[in-house]
Amino acid sequence: MSGKLFVSGDEAVALAVRQAKPHVIAAYPITPQTIVVERLSDFVEDGSLESQYLYVESEHSAMCACLGASAIGARAFTATSSQGLLYMVEGLHYASGSRFPIVMMNANRSLAAPWSIYNDQRDSLSELECGWIQLYAENAQEAYDTILQAYRIAEDPAVMLPVMVNLDGFVLTHTYELIQMAEQEKVDAYIPYRNFCNKLDLEKPKATCITAGPPYNMEFRYQQHQATLRAAETIRAADREFNEHFGRSYGGLLETYRCEDADAVLVTLGSVAGTARCVVDAYREAGKKVGLLKIRCMRPFPAEETAAALKGAKAVGVLEKDVSFGFEGVVHTNVNSALKEWNVTVPTANYVGGLGGRSISKADIAGIFDGLLSGSLNASETAFVNLRRDICGA
């Protein structure tokens, strides 16, 4: 199947997964889930996808089933969101530590309590340390393309790590856009199934997820860290090759948009980058030098590229849909650490927005740019965007 389709972000993911032909799909339908796995079950039912589809009783088991499948060399897929992601956290560490190239879609949604079914990114950003490569998509097309890239990255023999593809809940998962489908033969050529070098083997038995005591444990961890760092080059290569095959590219780990001579740059990730892009265009038209840095990959973190992109700016704002309570947004922490590491001195300010589905409008982003351009940054305080100050004692 190729050509253009008008689909939701969820459907875009499901279509890409069908083309990636995973051997095994395991998913739990709730806590919460998206219709990605429903569409995949449709594909299995109508025969257009030959995957083994496992109906599991929880996200913990969904991830466990993927661990088992990947252990025996099967290409595996699951999807989750929010609480469900947190319920499978134990398995996330097993997957990365065991170097299982599982691909998972996560619909970014808020965490309880208080309960909310709406979008923010506190779920995945709270799991930066679980060893998964974390990619964030801006729109349905990028979501579709990133799923295909994710298999290319995960199964690269130099990487062999799981990849989490994040889509903003509702904003991206439930809205409809036109996407360009890839031709199946090209997908097959882009992500051919390769044997996993660490898989179980009936002819030459192996044990996996084994115990490594103090004499060896740290060395396994070092190798895992190195592989995750190395993945950065694979992510760039995957994006370049994707461009060669399909004519679309996303800059690898990050994308700079009109940053070259920008005085103020907004750093963000996910769907809000699309809104920011519009504001940047409007400001540029008005002669204001602003730019956008869209982080596409939070792990491995593109520290050097981030620092290079922000080097010329006079002020940097980091807008993110999460907060590490008692400190600041974690993306801000990462960006600042990158700047420090690469000796870039530029004032940064942190903007926490969109928690629990609070919308972030063009006006909100314009307000951030105005603040950055004014030269009167309050870098020490995390600003909550669009906060109803009157009812929360702010």
Binding site: S98, N198, K199, K204, A212
Partner: protein, 97 residues
């Protein structure tokens, strides 16, 4: 005796990719856990194989003419002695062997 042998000289030179490793490799023995050693009196042994069946360590080999104990992996638990109806197995203190 048909029992796997330990390679005690094995040294890890390069870790595998992730904690996945070929099974069936023995790089240690269990004899240090033993205080008493079971000894089979082959005259009394009727080869009922009860000891072979119930050994938690599989340390009794039944492939030969007589039963043989792999003392590298026998821990001296004594399950075999209690299982031996003809009384062909005695437990001997290691220091007195």
């Amino acid at each position: 005796m048909e029992r796997p042998k330990a390679d005690l000289s094995y040294v890890v030179e390069a870790l595998p990719l992730g904690p996945a490793f070929e099974t069936g490799q023995l790089h240690d023995v269990s004899s240090g856990m033993r205080t008493f050693r079971p000894v089979i009196d082959t005259e009394k042994c009727v080869k009922c194989l009860r000891c072979f069946l119930v050994c938690p360590d599989g340390a009794i080999d039944k492939s030969g003419e007589t039963l043989e104990i792999d003392y590298d992996y026998c821990k001296g638990c004594g399950v075999c002695r209690r299982a031996c109806k003809p009384g062909a197995i005695s437990m001997v203190k290691e220091a007195e062997v």
